[in-house]
Symmetry: C2
Subunit: 296 residues, 2 copies
Amino acid sequence: MDTNTGAVGVIGFGVMGSHMARNLAAKGHRVLGYSRTPSKVIEQKIHGVSPCTLEELARSCSCVLLSVTDGRAVQSILFGDSAEGAEGLSTLLAPGSLVINTTTIAPSEAADFDHRLSARDIYCVDAPVTGGDVGARNATLTIMCGGHEEAINRALPFLHCIGSKIVRVGPPGFGQRMKAVNQVGVALGIVAMTEALVLAEQQGISPDVALDILQGGAAGSWAFSNYAPRLLSNDLKPGFSAAHMLKDLKIAATEMPKSQILPGTETALRLFEKLVQRGKELGNHALIEIYRDTQI
Amino acid sequence: MDTNTGAVGVIGFGVMGSHMARNLAAKGHRVLGYSRTPSKVIEQKIHGVSPCTLEELARSCSCVLLSVTDGRAVQSILFGDSAEGAEGLSTLLAPGSLVINTTTIAPSEAADFDHRLSARDIYCVDAPVTGGDVGARNATLTIMCGGHEEAINRALPFLHCIGSKIVRVGPPGFGQRMKAVNQVGVALGIVAMTEALVLAEQQGISPDVALDILQGGAAGSWAFSNYAPRLLSNDLKPGFSAAHMLKDLKIAATEMPKSQILPGTETALRLFEKLVQRGKELGNHALIEIYRDTQI
């Protein structure tokens, strides 16, 4: 595939994007990087990433991978920010190029972006990920792909550089739909862990005894195995931030057409809203903090 | 310990009690069995259990294990049922005997029963279990022990016949407190699994694709690994019944002193109430049924 011979552009150099860019470079790709905060790209020069402008990136790259904040940021990168008068990537890329968006956004936005890029003969894949900073560093992310078959085919060689499990979920937007489903499972798993540990604490049960029983039985979960030990050592830093979880839950709870109310998800959304309102830089596993207030 | 030399009495021959009785007999104990439905004990004769009356059982046994329905049933067995005018086990057992109650009841009931048995010099351990019918059959139950140290010491040889993980949680009632904590974790894990699968279904995502991603990542849980495959093959039978889960959640949500509301647990309680109202003999993993109604 000719897309594999050109340079790869990476846009967005948070924790996730930085690791993705380094792994693409480590697998032999020429990687050009762009961020609105250029210093973040310059930090990655030592790992083989070449800082450049958005125009340079679009001119040199037949594949561009996005890892930015949210749907508004993706929209601004792709289609221009009218407030700034800047041109968007979609007008700069050559026909036949490929855009891989790893940012978690609403499924409807993903489908809309695909539609607008297709009109310019640009391939598009929505490819949100799970596996956290550790998965991004070790290229063991799970990647949930939505897009037309040919677009996903073209994306595969790049996705295999950054993840170990690449799943075709469905047409454009379906990667994002699956990501929302996954975040419902993660958030409610955290609620389950949190309320069991809070109840144990309230009942005067040793947290170590409680955790030993909980994670060994039918209550067991990834959250108990991975988050609970951090809680018991009072480590509330992200990992994955509570603010990002809230953003993802809002997509799941309010931005997807649903034939049924999901009462657990609504409860989780309210709880994470309270956590984020505390205004600290907390991980999503820190939900236990709000149970220590007098009112929930 | 002299308690280990006498016969063991087992009261209650549901699925759990029957397996416990058989495992005690298989490990060399002489086992006497009593049930209000004598045919259930007679079925276990082939496995070395001798059917008898409550009076015979009390006369021969220095250790009695209870596996009945709920707190009211335990109360009736131990202290008599005034409606029937029957005598309770506590007046029939010799001083120095041991009562092991594996039935899940409220912690306050467990503490009260211990108090009343202690007044008659009878040792008492609350020993609710987790691990289901499979754990009961294979003697791999996890047993959560509440009681005075000497009572638990006396119970250990018997508990090791029916379970593989015996945990001292604390004084009388603390086994039941831990059981309630565990059930909160189990119930919310089922809510997490259910709402993720329901959302996937609503979004047109293949259940196999969704389950593959969910159980492989940060949403992963015992529920996804064990219950979800049953759901996908449309097997909604218990395992552990929805009615028992509702009973356990009511203990956790309404019968324990708590300094904080647990919003997820309250939501789970409402959902399991709706499931049990459907009146079918459903397993606790069948929660997905109520999401298929028009109103939740």
